[in-house]
């Protein structure tokens, strides 16, 4: 089929249009059928493309769909590109996406805006696929902005609540700030290379001599866009607030797919970053800082979804560290495994919330292990995966990242390694803390919530089981090797080769140490946790306040901007200058007219005098003719 790539992209769009325009009238069953069926169809088409790609030996497939604009000799086309990296991304997006759609059938069953939900979800898939399948940065950017839009719509899905609507706005605006950097990067690239096609850009940067523009400059600019979309410091502030949306949305957009767009961008443009050591160092540095920073905050969070949100930020930091040291394939590997276990975790959290009738505070949970067994089992498997317990998926990807952070010749260092190991320990700790507080121990639920607890329907638990299985065995599909030809792995320093196995053992030890520590602190009746909190009140306050980043932004950026808008732009420019000048002109006209009208006082003497004056003037004027 010659237009199958376009088909993959357009199937969810069709779902959006049908459900958006007619869904309400056609009933929930129809909406579910269309809303889930079309992503599944897209998944099948993606599998088909993968088969064809393998048969063709990995040569990329390019499909030009439409010429968007023809300006001054250069034409901008909407073209799709399918190679191994795209295959991995497209399968994750459509596969995990379809699973989450199915889950939503059960989760959103009683919501009044059922059709709108599925319409937005399909819209998101359309834009995400556009982002992943696009050949040029322009098409990617359309998808980039589009997923931002879909994210805004879905975070603020229950927009009647102003807090939730504000969260949606915060997400969109923070993304936009990052997009400014992205756009600048695109402009520089276009100016230097005359094209925005990513395969051509990579070739241009890998060739010798490279293009005239500084690769680091472009790399940093594009990375600024990635920090916005993938919630790295300093633009990470939107992701925790985005938990205001429905839980499947958090799973799909803010765990598995949209936030990974930044990682995909850097990996796709590896040609630039291979030649930009400063940019790569920045990427690794910010990734490490974010990972550690977010992990420390996650340790004290009490909302089940917020813990997972900070966990996502932290894991994305891991991926950026991998990108920063040149191990692009490993980053994609971690993206892939993270999609499975994080989606499973979020959906499991959704199941817990559903079971408890809306409760999200882990201090009010406990003792759920036996009452919602499927949720518990899948949640436990996913927790073990993210903590890095072998042989689950997370262990493989995380260990590769740690190894390359230490030993890569393209930027690995001990400092980086130590930070990441500490983060890994914290990850294991807080995830098991979450597991313990939610499912074990004495029940801290209120009576009517406890009465209400029930296992979720099959549409939800079925998806959880599938995702848990994938989290368990997904690590055995070695993505880095699959992508080797496209994204070569960096060389490890020869002197450090002998440390590979010891470090491997160290990661396993760390994972179990986190488990043990969490069990120790939070096991039993949790009294030890409270004593710990009382002994370190300052630290606890800082961590609970998320290092007060939001407050700092508000004080140093928000309030001055508001002051400038109000004082300078509204009162000074708009009211005083613009309105004032207009009113002033009118007043001037009125005053002049008023003044001039005093000549008409009805006195003939004055009129006669004016006649005489007029005559004198005309005589004086024509003096030269005398």
């Amino acid at each position: 089929m010659s237009h199958v790539l376009a088909l993959i992209v357009l199937l969810p769009l069709a779902g959006f249009l049908v459900n958006g325009l007619a869904g309400k009238r056609l009933g929930n069953t129809f909406v579910s059928a269309v809303g889930c069926g079309l992503p599944v169809a897209a998944f099948v088409a993606a599998v088909q493309c993968l088969i064809e790609l393998t048969a063709a030996g990995g040569t990329p497939r390019i499909e030009v769909a439409y010429t968007w604009a023809d300006i001054g000799g250069s034409s901008f086309e909407i073209a799709f590109y399918f190679d191994r990296l795209t295959a991995v991304m497209a399968l994750i997006v459509t596969g995990v996406g379809s699973l989450i759609h199915v889950y939503s059938i059960g989760y959103m069953k009683d919501d009044a805006s059922y059709a709108r939900y599925f319409a937005y979800l399909n819209l998101f898939l359309f834009f995400m696929l556009l982002l992943v399948l696009g050949r040029s940065l322009l098409v990617l950017f359309v998808g980039w902005e589009g997923v931002g839009l879909a994210s805004y719509l879905l975070i603020g899905f229950w927009f009647e609540d102003p807090e939730k609507a504000r969260a949606g706005k915060k997400a969109f605006i923070t993304n936009r700030i990052g997009d400014a950097g992205f756009l600048l990067g695109m402009f520089v690239l276009y100016q230097a290379l005359g094209t925005l096609d990513m395969d051509r850009i990579n070739l241009a940067f890998l060739a010798t001599p490279g293009p005239a523009v500084s690769a680091s400059l472009v790399g940093i600019l594009l990375f600024i866009g990635a920090t916005g979309k993938s919630a790295q410091i300093p633009l990470h502030v939107w992701l925790p607030d985005a938990m205001a949306g429905p839980t499947p949305v958090s799973a799909l957009i803010h765990a598995a797919t949209m936030v990974t767009a930044g990682v995909y961008l850097v990996a796709r443009l590896s040609g630039i970053y291979l030649n930009a050591p400063e940019a790569s160092a920045l990427v690794a540095g910010i990734g490490a800082a974010t990972a550690f920073f977010a992990a420390t905050i996650a340790v004290v969070q009490t909302d089940i979804k917020k813990v997972l949100a900070y966990s996502t930020i932290s894991q994305l930091g891991f991926m950026f560290v991998a990108l920063g040291v040149g191990a692009y394939g490993v980053a994609i590997f971690h993206l892939y495994t993270h999609a499975f276990f994080k989606a499973c975790l979020f959906l499991g959290a959704g199941s817990v919330i559903h079971a408890l009738g809306g409760e999200q505070d882990i201090r009010k949970m406990g003792g759920l292990a036996r009452r919602i067994p499927f949720t518990f089992a899948t949640f436990a498997v996913a927790t073990a995966a993210i903590a890095g317990i072998p042989p689950l998926a997370g262990f493989f990807s995380k260990d590769e990242i740690l190894w390359f952070a230490f030993a890569s010749e393209r930027g690995g260092s001990t400092v980086l390694y130590v930070t990441m190991v500490a983060t890994a320990l914290l990850t294991s700790f807080y995830m098991f803390r979450l597991l313990w507080r939610t499912f074990f121990g004495r029940s801290r639920m209120t009576a009517e919530v406890e009465h209400h607890v029930h296992e979720s329907p099959t549409s939800m638990t079925g998806v959880l089981i599938v995702l848990a299985l994938l989290s368990a065995v997904g690590g055995f599909l070695s993505i880095p090797h699959y992508l080797e030809r496209l994204l070569p792995m960096p060389d490890a320093a020869a002197s450090l080769h002998h440390l590979e196995t010891p470090l491997l053992v160290l990661s396993i030890v760390i994972a179990f140490a986190g488990l043990a520590l969490a069990a120790f602190v939070y096991g039993g009746d949790g009294a030890r946790a409270e004593r710990l909190q009382r002994r370190l009140p300052g630290l606890h306050r800082v961590l609970s306040g998320k290092y007060f980043v939001d407050e700092a932004y508000e004080t140093f950026i928000g309030r001055p901007l508001y002051w400038i808008s109000d004082r300078v732009f509204l009162r000074l420019s708009d009211r005083s200058i613009i309105d004032g000048s207009l009113h002033g002109l009118a007043a001037l006209g009125r005053r002049t007219a008023g003044g001039l009208s005093r000549i008409q006082n009805g006195q003939l003497h004055l009129y006669a005098l004016l006649v005489l004056v007029g005559i004198v003037f005309s005589l004086a004027w024509s003096w030269r003719h005398v």
């Binding site: 006082n601 009805g602 003939l604 003497h605």
Partner: protein, 95 residues
């Protein structure tokens, strides 16, 4: 020289219109203006030898007569209405 006299008569007439308060005096000053013009017309007619100037003077006579014939009754009515001949009182057309 006569032209100068005519200019002076005209100027005096116009000045009188501006300066005097009595309506009737103002009308008379307007007649003075017309006379000044007549003088200049006659002078030019006599100098150039064409009859056009003289004809124009005749026409001016007629116009002046008609003008006075109408203006005086108007002034009489106005004076009745405003109870006086002061031109400052006749400012109903102001604004």
């Amino acid at each position: 020289m006569l032209i100068a006299v005519s200019a002076a008569l005209f100027a005096l007439g116009l000045l009188g219109v501006i300066v005097r308060r009595n309506v009737l005096v103002m009308l008379m000053c307007m007649e003075l203006m017309l006379n000044g013009v007549n003088l200049s017309l006659v002078t030019f007619a006599q100098q150039s030898g064409s009859a056009a100037g003289a004809v124009l003077v005749l026409l001016v006579f007629v116009v002046a007569t008609a003008e006075i014939a109408i203006a005086i009754p108007i002034v009489l009515l106005l004076a009745q209405r405003k109870n006086g001949l002061d031109l400052d009182a006749y400012d109903d057309l102001r604004g």
